[in-house]
Amino acid sequence: MRYERQILMKEIGEEGQNTLKKSKVTVIGAGGLASPVLTYLACAGVGTITLIDYDTVSESNLNRQFLYHEKDMGMNKAELAGDVLNSLNSQITIHPVSERIDEENIGKIINGADVVIDCVDNVETRLIVNRECIKQDIPLVEGGVYGFYGFVMSIKRDFPCLECIGYGNTKLKRPGPVLGAVVGVIGSLQAVECIKILLGLDDVLYGKMLNYDGLSVSFDLVELQKNDLCEVHGRT
């Protein structure tokens, strides 16, 4: 039986597996973080996955974006990722969307999702996704990396968001340094967070930022506070 090993888990069982089957997750970006995120959500049997990426595969993607192979260079990521995921699990529904996220289309793209996972590589898109998730009251799982380091945090309306912690001041160097295996760690943690949220489990990273340090091999949890002056929360 396909999901036997996870149905054995007391936190999942038959009921939890049915919950995953009925769930809708939207993944923003189909690159490095999204490779493990999409793979593990599809394998776990999340019933409907929408993935968004406007880009095509380039050679510099191949150190971390394992959804794609050398033969895929120049091809559309959303379509390719959709094919890979359909091949991994034909029992779920995949909606590939080849669009660039902006203020105009984000509302429609995430509407109806049970969870949104942010897997992009730039601050601007993260802030757009953050704002819309708070507006629509959809849980958001954030993750980002830099070299050997990365973070994961979960966000929803009653908890701190990226604007609350001043993430808008972040000025990323692009292209930034990224080790594929570190993206794998952070993307896998995002997938775990998403599944826990879908199942309604406790101890989700709301109001907390989990920081991974691959050099000193440590995880550090930082408790976060909402910002009374947050413009995003102020609009809700």
């Binding site: 993260r126 380091y149 001043g166 993206v183």
Partner: protein, 73 residues
């Protein structure tokens, strides 16, 4: 004491956690200077988990967390 927690690349050549005498530092910026971290490299500054600017005051028993930009994927 002020507990200072550094993250990601700010840890390179520095301790992850340092305790500083509160009386010697009035602002987060002064703590940042102590670690020779250029202000423009600080992406997120949290005092007790709350977003703060570098000119914010720090006091005894505060936990100051400093993050460089992290957001690739």
């Amino acid at each position: 004491m002020i507990e200072v927690r550094l993250f990601a690349t700010f840890r390179e050549g520095r301790q992850k956690i340092t305790f500083l005498e509160a009386g010697q530092f009035q602002t987060a910026a002064q703590v940042t200077d102590y670690f020779h971290i250029p202000h423009e490299e600080v992406a997120i500054c949290l005092i007790n988990g709350r977003h703060s600017k570098l000119d914010a005051s720090v006091k005894d028993e505060d936990v100051l967390a400093l993050f460089p930009p992290v957001g690739g994927g």
